[in-house]
């Protein structure tokens, strides 16, 4: 039982770190702001959620201490990070950042 909880929290931490790594690779590899934003706003959200869940499990099991601040942090990050991604995208578009040259469609341009 003890080993299961330890392995589970280690697994959560490793998955979180892996997702962070992938989102960092995404920032380096992907061609423009919009596609980079895809990688950042999704992978790092789930990455930090996994890391926080792993921490929660670890402290609950080692010290019998259930920290509600971690739960709050999970909720706050879950609510705010998609909004941040949207706002960065929107301000990039309005300040005229070009999309990647292989982009095929732009419905928003037709409007103006």
């Amino acid at each position: 039982m003890i080993a299961i909880v330890e392995i589970l929290s280690a697994l959560f931490l490793l998955m979180g770190v892996f997702l962070f790594l992938v989102s960092a690779f995404g920032i380096i590899r992907l061609p423009d702001v919009y596609t980079r934003n895809h990688a950042v706003s999704k992978s790092s959200t789930l990455g930090i959620l996994f890391i926080l869940i792993g921490t929660l499990l670890f402290f609950f099991h080692q010290h019998g201490h259930f920290d509600f601040r971690i739960v709050l942090a999970i909720i706050f990050i879950f609510m705010t990070s998609p909004v941040a991604g949207h706002l960065i995208n929107r301000s990039a578009y309005h300040s005229g950042v070009k999309m990647w040259d292989q982009s095929v469609q732009d419905d928003l341009k037709k409007r103006r």
Binding site: G26, N37, H38, D107
Partner: protein, 158 residues
Amino acid sequence: MSFQILLNAVLAVTWIFLKNEFDGSTFIIGYVLGLCIMFVFRHFFNDRFYLSRVIAVIRLLLIFARELISSNISVLKVVLKPKLDMQPGIFAFETMLTKDWEITVLSNLITLTPGTLVVEVSADNRILYIHAMDIADKAEAVDSIKHTFEKAIMEVSK
């Protein structure tokens, strides 16, 4: 809805007074009993029974979690693929939702959907401009937004 919750709490407090036991477990028993009474008299409320709305909210949260995981898997595939052969683009999506909070929840959900990110909401709140990682998947994305998300959000607000 808030009226029904308040009524439920008042019924629970009444139960505490009847039993003359002032603790949490008596409150919970009273709350459940009050819920049963309110379920019997549900046709007398103008609104629908509030438990069904609570269930709809929980279902929406589960959809959020599922979408977050599947979108991460798809981002992982794109980033770790040796060749960058996706075709990004922005497409317009017409929504049926009208209230502000519904559109906020919908655009949050779209941002967490595989391969889509909201760029702009039009001034009259009717069209969402969505940046798609791969425009070839557009039809599928629109389909899932229309059938899963809009329906789940309407289920909460109706």
